[in-house]
């Protein structure tokens, strides 16, 4: 039995393939007569079935039982087994990446200036920050920018980042991949700036322009400053 988590699903899936064992995923409840109730389609459907026997792998989602029920004041007996030789592993942990503590919560912001690959250079991030400051907005980003380390993970919008819903979302040089749109598609007003007229971001944008953001942003900063 594994957690239906990044760790558990990774290990259980691999073991299932390696040992040709059945894997029942996203299980919420197990009964004493070996029936399971599994949450599928992101929890929209509950599937019921019998656990395959004699050996099956299961990944569990939280909700079926309480954590306290799995805790005990009494320490269980510990039996040590010899771990097999674990040499020549192909994967090793290099470092933990911590989310920036104390940074703004972009999910709560009403106005985001969001940058994507189209910003081209790290130095150009400053331009976006300047525009955000002039507009009273915060800076957020799509995946490539965070992967480059140009902005911290706390600023990431999308499937693997934050889900945001500001009044205004200004997308600068963001193509609008489904993973990104999942995190910002419900914003009230989306304004897209992208030189590629076929970029999917224009499908969700209310306003859009194919102007080059590197020319547009300095002009916008000027206008914003004049307006104050």
């Amino acid at each position: 039995m594994f957690g239906h988590t990044t760790i558990g699903a990774d290990v259980a899936g691999g073991l299932s393939a390696k040992l040709s064992l059945p894997l029942v995923s996203s299980v919420r409840t197990l009964t004493s007569d070996a029936k399971f109730i599994s949450q599928i389609c992101g929890g929209k459907i509950m599937a019921e079935g019998d656990l395959p026997s004699p050996t099956a792998l299961v990944t569990m989602v939280p909700g079926g039982t309480k954590t306290e029920e799995g805790q005990s004041a009494q320490s269980p007996a510990i039996e040590t087994f010899a771990a097999p030789a674990l040499d020549n592993l192909r994967v090793a942990l290099k470092k933990y990446i911590e989310p920036e503590a104390g940074d703004v919560d972009i999910a709560k912001e009403q106005f985001l200036v969001s940058v994507g690959r189209g910003i081209q250079l790290k130095d150009n991030i400053e331009m976006a920050k300047e525009l955000a400051a002039a507009l009273g907005a915060q800076v957020s980003a799509s995946r490539p920018i965070v992967d480059q380390g140009w902005l911290p993970t706390s600023r990431l919008v999308g499937k693997s980042g934050k889900r945001v819903k500001p009044k205004v979302y200004l997308a600068l040089g963001i193509s609008g991949a489904p993973e990104h749109v999942e995190g910002m598609g419900e914003s009230d007003t989306i304004i897209a700036v992208n030189t590629d007229p076929n970029a999917p971001i224009f499908n969700v944008a209310k306003y859009g322009t194919t102007a080059d953001l590197l020319e547009l942003v300095p002009a916008l900063i000027e206008k914003a400053k004049q307006a104050v």
């Binding site: 957690g3 988590t5 290990v11 005990s72 269980p76 510990i78 039996e79 087994f81 771990a83 097999p84």
Partner: protein, 83 residues
């Protein structure tokens, strides 16, 4: 033996993840039917202390420097040996 429920304890940076306790509780209800034991499987490096509050009949503990931090590969190799 085949009726025992093995629960792989998930832990990260010195703390047991809540999902581990959720699983132990679920394993308990399943074990009531099978008549087997709830066996917590803990992998790590000098991590025995994490077993302290697990509601299991027994903890199987595997220790190795390669298990100090989670990697899917090391876990799979170690667990394949137990199944």
């Amino acid at each position: 033996m085949s009726q025992d429920i093995f629960v792989v304890i998930e832990h990260l940076r010195g703390g047991v993840a809540d999902i581990s306790y959720v699983m132990l509780a679920a394993a308990r209800s399943l074990a009531q039917g099978t008549g087997g034991q709830v066996v917590a499987v803990l992998l790590g490096k000098d991590a025995q202390k994490l077993a302290g509050d697990l509601a299991a009949d027994k903890v199987l503990y595997g220790d190795s420097p390669a298990l100090a931090e989670f990697t899917s590969e090391a876990y799979q190799i170690a667990l394949a040996k137990l199944i």
